[in-house]
Structures are given as C-alpha cells and as structure tokens.
Symmetry: C2
Subunit: 194 residues, 2 copies
C-alpha cells in the first residue's frame, strides 16, 4: 500500500530518497481503511492526520446553519485529505472530511511527520511543491469564483478534472462550484446540445 | 527601510536571526519606489520579484476578454505582492500587479532569495508560516465564495480587513468580492440603516 506513496514522492521530488528512507516512510504513515460515510475529521475536532489516498474518494465540506453542506475539496487516489490550517495550528476545524467511497489511506500525524520525516530532503521538496500547487489551485479557484460564469467554471473543472465528474454525483460537483443543482443540470444539457 | 522587514521576520519566526543575518537580508532585498499606476508585474511576463510592501498599496488583478479587471489580491504595508506560481515556476503570469498608491517596496528575485537566504532558518520558518497563512486565507475565500451571501462576504471582509475598506475605493472592493458595485452600494446602505 505504501508503494503508491513512495512513487508519488519520487514523482514530486528531484531529490532522490536515501537508503532507509523508504523504510522510515513506511513506518511513519499508517495504513487505514475508512469505510464509506466514515469520518476522517468532524467539525470541532483538531485535524489529527494528513491522509494520502491510495484508493477511494473523500470529500471535505462545511455545514452552514441551515444544514446545507458546502464542498470545499474533493480527493481521490494520489491526493491528500487534510484541513491544513487545523493540522498545522492545532486549532479546531470548521470542516468535515468523510469517505464518499470505501477508502484506503495512509495517515500521518504532524508530530510523527516532523520527528521522523522532517529532516528528509526529498520529502521536504515534495511538501514544498504540494504547498505551491495547492496555493496556486486555490488562487485559480478564487479568480474563477469572482470572474467566471457558472458555465465557464463547470467547463474548466470538467476539462481539468474529468475523473472527478465520473466519481462524484452532480449535486456534489454543483456544491463544489458554488452553483445550484438546477443550474449545473441546465449547463450540462446545453453542453450536450453544443 | 529594511527595518520593517526585519521586524516582520522576527514577528513571524520563533527562530532568532543569527549574527550577520540582518546584513544579508539588507543586501538581498532591494529598495524600490513604485509610483502610483506603475507595474510590478504585467500579464505575459514572468513574475521576477517578490515584493515586501514597506509603505503604500498595490493590487493584483486579471483582465478578461471584455477588458474588465478582476481583483485577486490587495496588499498594503507588511504584506507581500507576488504571483507565487509565476515566481516559483518561472511561467508567464496571467496577472497584473500595479501600485494603487505610491509604494515603497523591498524586492527580491527567486535566485537571490534561494542563494543568499535559502539556508537561513528564521527566514525558512517565516516563509513556511506565510505559505500556511496564505493557503488558509485562500481556502476561506473559496468557502466564502461558494457558500456565503454577498452581504456576509462584505461584512466578514470589512471586519477582518477594516484598513482595506479605508484604502481602496468601493469598485475595487466589489471586484475583490466578486459582486457588482451596485450590489456593494446596496449592502453598505443596508448596513448603515441597521
């Protein structure tokens, strides 16, 4: 199960892993099966783990006072599920992260990550790149939300993340894009006609 | 001029600066006056500098095919102006960064930053914290854009960044929030009545 994480690290780092690094990674990330509808994180808790998704699909969302879920982030294989702010600052999270499909994940706590892997150059480089990619993806989402029409937001999302369209139902995608189910349905009908 | 940057670094880092670090920082960050309406970055260029704002105000925005500006980021004293993706990946930027007021900034290139300051623990800690704060602010803005009403977005913004409301005119704030000038004007009138 750790092989896909090792492959991921190698892909995102130009610094090679040293002898023994593989073993240290395997001993630090704990394999865990999270069944569909189980939570990795519930609002009000501190986000104890960063999870690398080996297989499955998870969603991160907040719930407003009316009980409506707002999808902040979707994750599938080779993505990470975590509330970074809560994980880093040890503050209670406003988000929930649950499994949308049965999920195999590799979990690590912040303390274990820092003490066992903090001095590993390849992993630091990977973390740095992940942070940069994450920030630039968020930045793009902000610009899309303030300047693009709902149509363009959906088209861009479908082009950039076709696998998400396959894995998650329309109401989840609509929530992620900040539009209603009805608007998304209308957009999809129009695209089919094009 | 570099004193405010040194103070900023000390504020955001628990690691103390070592002897000589001050001098190295002063020699690496170059002081530059950017007059109102001058550009730090124009779309299509690679973002060569990260700028620490000592005094003044800048805005980062994209321009759509209709010529409308969309404000992505506003920066004043003790904030950083940069297109991080372009700066890090050396890719052409889709953004413009210009001075909204006459601005005194401290500029650093990526190469100078890495070669002169890359091994300075206090600065690495500060960078790490900035990245985390930046990502969590973007995350909050995404959740606000998909789940909050225009009223709530404005109220949260005004509470969190009252100085921005003073420094930038309403059409800039409206663009930042992804709402029309008319909607913002209506919201402000209602708030006054409350």
């Amino acid at each position: 199960m750790h092989d896909s994480l090792i492959a991921y690290i190698k892909k995102y780092s130009t610094t090679p892993l040293k002898e023994g690094d593989d073993e240290l990674i395997k001993n630090t990330f704990l394999a865990k099966r999270i069944r569909k509808k189980q939570f990795l994180l519930q609002e009000g808790e501190v986000c104890k783990y960063t999870a690398f998704i080996v297989k499955g699909a998870m969603r991160q969302y907040s719930v407003d006072e009316k009980g409506t879920e707002h999808i902040v982030r979707l994750t599938i294989e080779n993505w990470w599920a975590v509330d970074r702010e809560s994980f880093t600052m040890l503050t209670p999270s406003v988000y929930n992260i649950d499994a949308w499909e049965d999920t195999d994940a590799l979990l690590v706590t912040r303390a274990d990550f820092l003490s066992n892997l903090g001095g590993m150059p390849a992993l630091n480089e990977m973390t740095r790149k992940m942070d940069e990619n994450h920030a630039s993806a968020l930045q793009k989402r902000v610009i899309a939300s303030i300047s693009f029409s709902a149509e363009k937001r959906y088209e861009d999302f479908a082009r950039q993340y076709p696998e998400f369209i396959q894995r998650f139902p329309q109401h989840i995608i609509a929530s992620y894009l900040g539009i209603t189910k009805e608007t998304l349905s209308r957009i999809r009908h129009q695209l089919v006609k094009k």
